[in-house]
């Protein structure tokens, strides 16, 4: 540990960073509550709520029925009436059941009431494939990006999970916080100081000169792996973690792309109306002379069959090949 307290770090798992952000905010703000399936004694599907039930009790850390539609609605109503709930939706596929309250009420409440109501709530949900099949694997964050009034964030590191959740828990409107099954057991350094990460600020996680690769969530790790592969053959990639999808930090990506002239977007969701499509279009508006490609999941459901799952999802080799194709 460094002697300088401002830079003191602790290596923690992604899941621990989430629990820490919640623990700190629940201590600071008595209106923060957690609602979801198995968030209580069980500590969450990935132990990301571990310790909260023992510390804050059943009134603030509430196990709910398997009823995503009503649970999102209940969180939204509680938020509009003065609480600050985090509603945990175990898998992002099930968020579809709660979209009515999130889209038709939470994202519109402030607007439709002329500013009388605000909905400071978080829907935290887990995206991505890890062998769980066609209805437990999807990444549909791009759907949410098009909803006016809804913030969407997707961290890839423990530090950003901590920092973005802190910011989410202080945000005045609804936030969709998207994590990923494969990230929970990943470690990383997190400052011992309070270090909120602002919305709308991408992170350049690897500097480079020949190509810009943009990703979010778990795909940042794939993009970094691809950059390593390319580095071995002499190509230098800049890797940018969007972190926040709405608002989107187009400026940081455009600045990089203007320098490299090559932009590859990587996501685990679909490319049609996907995150990468939006990023590429908006960057190209600013940087017209740009070679662009999108890497995304194949246009098929994500099977639990390991061979088919792997075939469906982007991997580092494929990302590296795409970059090479644009560079050649």
């Amino acid at each position: 540990m460094s002697a300088d307290a401002a830079t003191a770090m602790r290596k923690v798992f992604f899941r621990e960073a989430i629990a820490r952000a919640l623990r700190e905010e629940m201590e600071r703000d008595a209106s923060v509550i957690v609602l979801g399936q198995d968030v209580g004694r069980y500590g969450g599907a990935y132990k990301e709520f571990a310790g909260l039930f023992d510390r804050f009790g059943s009134a603030r850390v509430r196990d709910t029925p398997v009823a995503e539609s009503a649970m999102v609605g209940l969180g939204v109503g509680a938020a509009a009436a003065g609480l600050r709930p985090l509603v945990a939706i175990t898998y992002m596929d099930f968020l579809m059941l709660g979209l009515d309250a999130l889209v038709n009420y939470a994202a519109k409440a402030r607007y439709k009431t002329g500013g009388q109501l605000r909905v400071p709530m978080i829907v935290k949900t887990t995206a991505g494939a890890r062998g769980q099949g066609v209805a437990h694997s999807q990444c549909i964050e791009a759907w949410a990006m098009s909803v006016p009034g809804l913030a969407v964030v997707a961290p890839s590191t423990p530090a950003d999970a901590y920092g973005l959740l802190k910011t989410s828990l202080r945000h005045e409107g609804p936030v969709l916080f998207v994590d990923h099954k494969r990230l929970f057991p990943t470690p990383g350094n997190v400052s011992l100081e309070e270090t909120p990460v602002p919305f709308g600020k991408a992170n350049v996680c690897r500097a480079g000169n020949d190509a810009t690769v943009v990703a979010h969530g778990y795909m940042c790790r794939v993009a970094l792996e691809a950059a390593e592969i390319l580095a071995a053959s002499g190509a230098s990639c800049e890797v940018i973690d969007l972190r926040s999808l709405a608002p989107l930090d187009v400026a940081t990506v455009a600045a990089s792309a203007a320098r490299t002239g090559v932009l590859v977007t990587v996501e685990e969701g679909q490319s049609v109306c996907g995150v990468g499509t939006e990023v590429a279009f908006r960057v190209r508006e600013l940087v017209p002379a740009l070679r662009v490609a999108r890497v995304a999941a194949a246009a098929a459901p994500v099977s639990s069959n390991p061979v088919l799952e792997q075939a469906c999802l982007p991997d580092a080799t494929g990302v590296a090949e795409t970059v090479r194709r644009l560079l050649s």
Partner: protein
């Protein structure tokens, strides 16, 4: 009830009313429920929200301004029909998705339970919401957590053109309370005093911390589902519904008891019409929102 009726009649005489969902015929439900609410309570309603908003005590001028899209409305003209709201006045708001306000109301009730014990939440919804999952999920969680929630089904017999019996297998909306251990009752929603009595009894129970209650009020709407839908009922059925008019019924009851003279009734009618006209004048004089402020209050 007279004010609500006159307000809606004045609104519908306007060619520029957009499209509206009227409460005409169903005034007693809103008035009876609101009579049981205290100032610190909250009321949520379906898109059929003119009667609930006025019965909760919102200024008719402001409601009319909102319905006609004027900046002077409580939602600054952004919400309009189906989304009236004035939370500071105890009207948390309407929501035009059928059943969409039920789980929201449960959340407001949870906030009340944790932060403002003694206050309750009432949520009005139509029979059309009873076949959807929102009601069943809300009944379950409200019963589990003993939420201070009074569910009020304003059963007007139809979802647009589909009869309740063709959309709900259960014998009645209020029969859905029993499986969840929620006390429920079915009253004549055209009888203001019956609604008042039942709502007061249930509200007291909910206020005491005994958990949710389910009140079904059997009513009839005198107009079509909305001003944009077609009438499917026969002239005979409509005439029979109109014969059950809650205003006439209460007036006759009061007159029979010597509590309402013809002169007093005439004066009340005139006053209700004057309030409606005043509301229209106010709304007409108010400006529309500035399109340059289109993006205000997003998020």
């Amino acid at each position: 009830m007279l004010r609500i009726r006159a307000f809606e009649e004045a609104l519908m005489r306007r060619p520029d009313h957009g499209f509206q969902l009227l409460s005409s015929g169903q005034e007693a439900v809103a008035v009876g429920v609101c009579a049981a609410l205290a100032p610190a309570d909250q009321l949520l309603a379906s898109g059929r929200s003119i009667a609930p908003a006025l019965a909760r005590g919102l200024d008719p001028r402001l409601v009319m301004a909102e319905l006609l899209g004027k900046e002077a409305g409580p939602c600054k003209g952004r919400g309009g029909r189906g989304h009236l709201a004035a939370p500071a006045a105890g009207f948390f708001g309407a929501h035009a998705v059928v059943g969409g306000n039920l789980s929201i109301a449960a959340g407001v009730a949870l906030a009340m339970q944790l932060r403002n014990p003694g206050a309750i939440v009432a949520c009005m919804f139509g029979d059309g919401a009873c076949g959807g999952g929102a009601l069943h999920e809300t009944l379950n969680i409200a019963a589990l957590w003993k939420l201070p929630l009074l569910l009020v089904c304003d059963n007007n017999g139809y979802s647009i053109s589909t009869r309740t019996a063709d959309a709900l297998a259960a014998p009645s909306p209020s029969s859905l309370g029993a499986p969840f251990g929620i006390p429920a009752a079915r009253v004549d929603g055209m009888d203001a005093l019956a609604v008042c009595d039942a709502a007061a009894r249930f509200a007291a129970r909910v206020r005491a911390g005994d958990g949710p209650a389910f009140l079904e009020c059997v009513s009839a709407r005198f107009a079509t589902h909305s001003s944009a839908t077609r009438e499917t009922r026969s002239a005979e059925e409509l005439a029979a519904d109109r014969a059950r008019c809650p205003i006439r019924r209460l007036a006759e009851h009061l007159a029979a008891g010597g509590l309402l003279t013809q002169d007093e009734r005439a004066r009340m009618d005139a006053e209700a019409a004057a309030v409606a006209q005043d509301a229209l004048r106010f709304a007409d004089a108010a400006p529309y929102p500035d399109p340059a402020e289109l993006l205000r209050d997003v998020g």
